[in-house]
Point group: C2
Chain length 291, copies 2
């Protein structure tokens, strides 16, 4: 894989670059090179206006210090990563998840996040009951909504690629996420659309339209590489893969989505090995050239 993007081949013609100020960086993108304080400073230094931090990094830097540094640079927090992981093998596990998720809501408020992203969890250990896991997710989101609505933090259900159904998230399509929003109510509940997870779905255009502006809480970008060498840590830089990102952006914009474009790249063999300033500069360039 070269650092140069392929020519943009898209169903959206002519190509109109997105506004540069719409770029946000999920901190996982450079987490192997920098700690969170360096990531915040680096994002600001590159003139990038949005950030989405992970809880473990925030815990290491300190919640108040994280919030202070993000505010000092006036960065928009496009999401907080992450809550969820609802299914558990027993009631104690579910109670622990409930409490941890409430803390995640509180932290998201403190850092000023636009939403708490929910990676809902997969099968409890030893279980083959995916319908049961999905029922636990529904109940867990419903219970968390009782809390999050009270404090005003929107929850964004993130459908994850079906290859993560067993171990990370058993909500794997926009259709399922929309169904949950229908069942639990739109108030304070929506969807995190990450193209890596949903690009393949023939229902994507219809389900983005079904979601509408109200449910489209955040929009995540990277690319699907061919070949993909690892199920978790081989995401591509925008332009290096097969996702028609401009076409997908047109779909969310057609619904009135006017939020930022959050780049989230897990890449153990490529981007996590590069100098982080190069990674951020490439994110900026590819955002304009390929998104």
């Amino acid at each position: 894989m070269s650092a140069g993007a392929r020519d943009v081949v898209t169903s959206v013609s002519p190509y109109v670059p997105p506004p540069a100020q719409k770029l946000s960086i999920n901190t996982a993108t450079v987490r192997q090179q920098w700690k969170l304080d360096a990531i915040i400073d680096g994002i600001a230094r590159h003139g990038i206006r949005g950030i989405s931090p992970w809880r473990d990094q925030v815990a290491e830097l300190g919640l108040a210090e994280t919030a202070r540094r993000i505010r000092a640079h006036d960065l928009t927090v496009t999401g907080y990563c992450r809550g969820g992981m609802f299914p558990a093998a027993d009631a104690a596990g579910r109670l622990a998840a409930r409490d941890d998720n409430r803390r995640a809501v509180d932290e998201a408020l403190t850092v000023g996040a636009q939403c708490l992203v929910l990676v809902v969890g997969g099968l409890p250990a030893g279980s083959k009951d995916i319908a049961g896991a999905r029922a636990q997710v529904r109940d867990g989101v419903a219970e968390l909504l009782d809390y999050s609505r009270g404090v005003g933090m929107p929850l964004a259900i993130e459908p994850l690629h079906p290859m993560y159904a067993a171990d990370r998230a058993c909500v794997n399509t926009m259709t399922h996420a929309n169904d949950l929003c229908d069942e639990l109510g739109d108030d304070g509940l929506g969807i995190a659309v990450d193209l890596y997870h949903v690009w393949w779905d023939p229902q994507l255009p219809a389900q983005i339209a079904r979601a509408g502006k109200k449910r489209l809480l955040t929009f995540h970008l990277c690319d699907w590489l061919v070949p993909t060498r690892d199920l978790l840590l081989d995401r591509g830089m925008m332009g290096d893969g097969v996702i028609d990102i401009p076409a997908a952006r047109a779909l969310v914009e057609a619904q009135g989505y006017d939020g930022m474009h959050e780049v989230e790249i897990f890449s153990s063999q490529d981007w996590w090995k590069r100098p982080p300033d190069e990674v951020l500069a490439t994110c900026k360039a590819r955002h304009l050239a390929c998104c």
Copy 2:
């Protein structure tokens, strides 16, 4: 991963083992250890009554010789692997695919297969147009049906897991396969249900019911391992993963499916490294214990 299956945990209770004579072996399961003549003999020696061979192995052994050996053992050929790969970058590529698929139909007839399995293909090189690839698939299947219907060879569209959408098959759900059957007509057209690809789908029960007995042309088994270490070559033996196989079998049987249960395991680091007699014996045991 141990050779012993986990306890059967299934939503179907009490567990009723499938009839042993329903077991069929896809030759990919032991292809790293044996050539096709040894596979055919080994399957018969183990008292297994079904087989599904791959074209490259058939080409190596010879089509007539393959057919003769399969007939000599009176094995049921539960499918022929494989046709498809319809999308191409240009007309010459599509023409080559058409001709090759017609040859695959002829070969399937010669070996007495119950259906030709279609792995429909992904994006042409350099393309990001998955909707266009899907249109090429529809047109390619329609054109092949003109031929296959004339000679009486059923085509079985195999939805592949969404992680193969780019490079192997852009039909990734039972819903999409059913849509194609609706559009192109059920005559000589149906679906190959491989649980590895579709187990995660919340729509699976409804789409198996929608397919009905007429479209359920073959039923493939293996298991989804946690973790899965390779996108292509880390399928699990039934019982070692998270798929509720008995529940899925109950779904197809509820539609009247009375065909065989074809085991297809690609496993570069485990089952392909074991003695093939052990693999076949394990397939037999797990079929009875976990399916």
